[in-house]
């Protein structure tokens, strides 16, 4: 008589089962399908956030689904438990084992990328230099204090901590002579003048706009209140404002700003020349590229960056992304836009592909050969 299985064994059995595998694939299928359809009405970034980051959510059609990150985590467990640890180790299954290693590696590199990578852009005009790149989607609030001898002290409230909806939040820090109350965050808006009203700040209120088709084109706004024991001032912080809100408290000068999150680079990038061509007689881009000078530790290096040929240096990758201004006339200064990525798992997918391809070929080629031989034997018989 068989001994009853322990609860752990039962759980591991289910975790590593084919049943769980095909169920995960089907739910991932539904998730990908609805996520694709929803892109006809919502920005890619919004769909990605909803379908990928949420543990569980409702689709546009009211169907509840678990988020992709949860499902991929479950798939990883299923792969490791069922496809690697508990799998019968026979020569005929070596290929399958290798495929599972490859897919697990791909999922792991995706996890590393998700947790550690930074992705943004750098726009720089010909002849200008930049030492940082900026986030596409994340906007931080910074308080900058001008110190003597040109020094600065910066306090940053990250995007993730900005109060959403009707909420407000008060931020304070050691050494800061005031509290900053933030409220009324709008993801995409523009300030507009109004007659004085309860919500108006210096004759302006934010007018909320529908989310932009491309999420990186959203320009957020937030209301800031500077509160000290003597002072209570209010300001509208808008993503595209020309200059930060400036205020003086106790004789100290502060600037409060809402800006795209910026990451410093370990080197500077100067755009020497931007080149673009279109197919003759059309407005279809044929080629565009940037000649830059990278300066690190006083060593200058000239680099050519073009579509499909990025610059990789110091853990950062610069991809030729776009250029502008869009309707530039001949002779007008141009700027080049680079996508800048810091991704420790950059080569993960290539390694995973090589492993998966080896596994697939190891598994399927002997099967095909055996099938061909069996058919030939059948015909001979």
């Amino acid at each position: 008589m068989k001994e009853p299985k322990s609860p752990l064994s039962l759980v591991l059995g289910f975790l590593g089962s084919y049943t769980l595998a095909w169920m995960i694939f089907l739910v991932l299928f539904a998730l990908t399908f609805f996520g694709t359809l929803e892109q006809a009405h919502a920005s890619l970034q919004d769909v990605r956030t909803k379908y990928f980051d949420s543990p569980i959510f409702l689709t546009e059609w009211g169907i509840p689904l678990p988020g992709a990150s949860f499902l991929l985590g479950l798939l990883f467990l299923n792969l490791v438990v069922g496809g690697m640890i508990r799998m019968r180790r026979t020569w005929s299954r070596v290929g399958i084992f290798v495929i599972h290693i490859g897919i697990a590696f791909l999922l792991l590199s995706g996890l590393v990328e998700g947790l550690t990578s930074k992705k943004g852009s750098m726009a720089v005009y010909e002849g200008e230099t930049s030492t940082e790149f900026k986030s596409y989607y994340d906007w931080d609030v910074s308080i900058l204090e001008q110190l003597p001898e040109g020094r600065e002290r910066v306090y940053t409230i990250p995007y993730e901590r900005l109060p959403r909806g009707a909420k407000s939040a008060v931020f304070r820090a050691d050494g800061l002579p005031f509290e900053l109350e933030l409220s009324g965050f709008l993801r995409n808006c523009r300030p507009q003048p109004v007659q004085q009203g309860s919500d108006a700040v210096e004759g302006l209120v934010f007018r909320e706009l529908p989310p932009a088709e491309e999420a990186e084109n959203n320009v957020p706004g937030i209301t800031a209140k500077v509160i000290s024991k003597d002072v209570r001032r209010e300001a509208l912080l808008w993503g595209f404002q020309q200059a930060p809100y400036a205020t003086t408290i106790d004789g100290r000068r502060f600037a409060v700003d809402l800006h795209r999150r910026a990451w410093p680079l370990p080197y500077s990038v100067t755009l020497r020349k931007f080149t673009h061509e279109e197919h003759p007689g059309t407005n279809m881009p044929r080629f565009f590229s940037s000649d830059i000078t990278r300066v690190q530790n006083n060593v200058a290096t000239d680099v050519h960056i073009s579509m499909n040929d990025p610059m990789r240096h110091g853990g950062y990758i610069f991809f030729q992304s776009a250029w502008g201004p869009p309707n530039a006339v001949p002779g007008q200064p141009l700027y080049s836009v680079f996508s800048v990525v810091e991704n420790p798992a950059d080569h993960g997918p290539l390694v995973a592909l090589i492993i998966v391809a080896i596994g697939l070929l190891t598994h399927f080629i002997p099967k095909l050969v055996a099938h061909v031989e069996a058919e030939a034997a059948r015909r001979r018989a």
Binding site: F25, G35, V341, L360, F364
Partner: protein, 594 residues
């Protein structure tokens, strides 16, 4: 009335005057630049005629078939006669009702001349403009056709006006003596097509139109002597009624154009492109695939080894034409085989037919041989329809972002092979389920077992290429744009295929699917492939969007409806066979796999 009849008769007679063969050949090979590419004038003419006539040839008043080059010569040099020719195809006479031309309607679908449609020009343009404001997916077929007809009408007018400057007979003289005014230029060229006939002599990339030459001259940049000579030749052709003069001027124009284009290295592939269109490989492929299918069908009724060999030969000949066409396209553009949606049809068809023949070579059960000509015929038919729906040059240049032969040759080829194998598995799955429904080889379990094994084997082949192709696409994106996976609709489409195939394979390993289940699931996977191949493009979003195409949407809905019916019939047949079978013993009813 008699006078009018005489005039019409005269016009018809005049239009039927055949163009000299040598002249047609010169213009067929005349290099022009269009959509960024230097190509023969015959290519430009063939797509213009396709947009109007829905065919690459047209029948003149004497019902003689005319080539696209002859048609364009007629429009350019004898516009009055061309206006009498019936090459505006109206698919639905409701279009003519809509513009108020009820008195000219002959049949529901018929061809009309410019002169016949001209009285409704204003109404046609107004409706075309109004309906153009409606989203493509929300238009009715009549509204879409009105827009197409309006555009075709305008395009004809633009071609017909191109040589108005030449018919005036004194533009070159005025250009040389500086007496041509801006007003003259506007009067002569306003509304005419921008046909880049003049290869530059200064090393720049962009070819020049007659309008460009005149505009540059007015801006103080007189045309090069070669261009002046070419303009003079055009003027003589347009203004002279004498055939000899025309022929001499045509030879001079062509000779100079060819000489400059050759010097620039842009003439080399012109004769090959002319040959490509003359060969019409995909139509010939279609004919041989159909022949192959007919022969296969005959062997079903009268099994015969020679007939079977003939079917294989016909299908292989179809494949040879199919492959030749693809190779010629690769040579013409200097690119791997798949660059756009049209290419995917040709390539997927060739791979599907080749795979079917390989299956037949291995198994010799007649299944691969049946699938090959069916897939081939369907593929060639779809390519033909798609080319007509698009009605623009399918040999297109690439955007900068896609300009990499390595990734096009690896990722795109792998993905399309995956599509092809997925569809082939679905096709074989159809043999299984339809065979069961109609009672083919009833009781022959080995027959159905072998088909199911073929389905499963083909799906594994498809999975290999789908997985590798999908990851390769991510790697391309990662190494070229900085992100492995962007959840773009086309990327998701590829992922959907992989997920569906993985679900099927794991459900089979789990014992949930048996032969019938695998075959049914393969048909569902085929539906997913069609969605990924065509459906996601219709969403109109993402990096890979090709825009909404009305005919494609109709075709997809039809395909999915048919597949739905097949699956429904399979379900009914399965339920009937289950109820007819002896009830299983207790304990065996749970989770009864199919």
């Amino acid at each position: 009335m008699r006078y009018l009849s005489f005039l019409l008769l005269f016009a018809a007679t005049a239009s039927a005057t055949p163009w000299d063969e040598k002249t047609v050949d010169l213009f067929t090979h005349l290099p022009v630049q269009d959509a960024g590419r230097v190509k023969p004038l015959s290519t430009v003419a063939s797509y213009a005629l396709l947009r109007m006539n829905h065919q690459r040839t047209f029948r003149d008043a004497e019902k003689k078939s005319r080539s696209p080059t002859e048609w364009l010569l007629e429009v350019l040099f004898r516009p009055d006669e061309a206006r009498q020719e019936k090459f505006f195809l109206v698919e639905n006479s409701a279009v003519l009702d809509a513009v108020g031309l009820t008195d000219v309607v002959r049949q529901r679908r018929d061809r009309y001349s410019y002169e016949e449609l001209a009285p409704a020009r204003g109404r046609l343009m107004q409706l075309a403009h109004d309906y153009d404001q409606i989203k493509a997916q929300d238009r009715t077929p009549v509204q879409s056709e009105l827009i197409d007809l309006g555009q075709a009408f305008l395009e004809f007018e633009r071609y017909a006006q191109l040589l108005d400057f030449g018919r005036s007979g004194d533009v070159v003289k005025k250009l040389e003596d500086g007496s041509l005014s801006g007003q003259d230029a506007v009067r002569l060229f306003d509304g005419s097509v921008a046909l880049a006939l003049f290869p530059p002599v200064d090393g720049s990339d962009a070819w020049l139109t007659p309008q460009d030459l005149v505009s540059l001259a007015l801006a103080g940049h007189p045309p090069a002597p070669e261009h002046v000579a070419m303009l003079e030749a055009l003027e003589r052709m347009a203004s002279s009624g004498d055939e000899t003069t025309f022929r001499e001027a045509a030879a001079e124009f062509y000779g100079r154009s060819r000489q400059i284009a050759t010097t620039r290295g842009e003439y080399r592939k012109i004769p090959l492109e002319v040959s490509y269109y003359k060969l019409d490989a995909f139509t010939k492929g279609l004919v041989f695939y159909i022949l192959g299918f007919v022969l296969v069908a005959v062997t079903w009724l009268w099994p015969n080894a020679w007939l079977k060999r003939a079917a294989i030969a016909a299908t292989a000949t179809g494949l040879a034409f199919n492959a030749t066409g693809i190779v010629l396209r690769c040579i013409l553009l200097g690119r791997p085989p798949v660059l756009n949606l049209y290419d995917t049809i040709l390539f997927i068809t060739a791979v599907g037919v080749l795979s079917s023949l390989v299956i037949e070579f291995i198994n010799r059960r007649g299944i691969g041989l049946a699938a090959a000509p069916i897939l081939g015929s369907l593929g060639m038919f779809i390519s033909n329809r798609f080319e007509l729906i698009e009605s623009r040059d399918t040999l297109r240049l690439l955007q900068a972002v896609l300009d990499t032969n390595f990734w096009l040759a690896t990722h795109v080829v792998c993905i399309t092979i995956g599509y092809s194998a997925g569809l082939l598995a679905s096709a074989i799955g159809h043999v299984y389920v339809i065979g069961r429904i109609v009672g083919l080889k009833r009781g022959n379990k080995s027959f159905y077992r072998n088909i199911a094994r073929m389905v499963y084997g083909t799906l594994c082949f498809a999975l290999l290429f789908s997985v590798v192709g999908t990851i390769l696409g991510g790697i391309w994106a990662n190494y070229s744009w900085g992100r492995f996976w962007g959840w773009d609709p086309k990327e998701n489409g590829a992922l959907l295929i992989v997920l569906a195939q993985l679900a099927l394979i794991h459900a089979k390993l789990d014992g949930r699917l048996r032969d019938l289940g695998v075959s049914v699931a393969s048909i569902l996977v085929g539906g997913v492939v069609s969605w990924s191949w065509w459906g996601v493009n219709l969403l109109g979003v993402g990096l890979h969007s090709y825009g909404f195409t009305g005919g494609v949407w109709t075709g997809l809905i039809t395909f999915w409806s048919i597949e739905g019916l097949v699956l429904f019939a399979t379900l009914v047949s399965w339920l009937v066979s289950r109820s007819a079978a002896t009830p299983p013993e207790s304990g065996a009813t749970e989770a009864n796999p199919v």
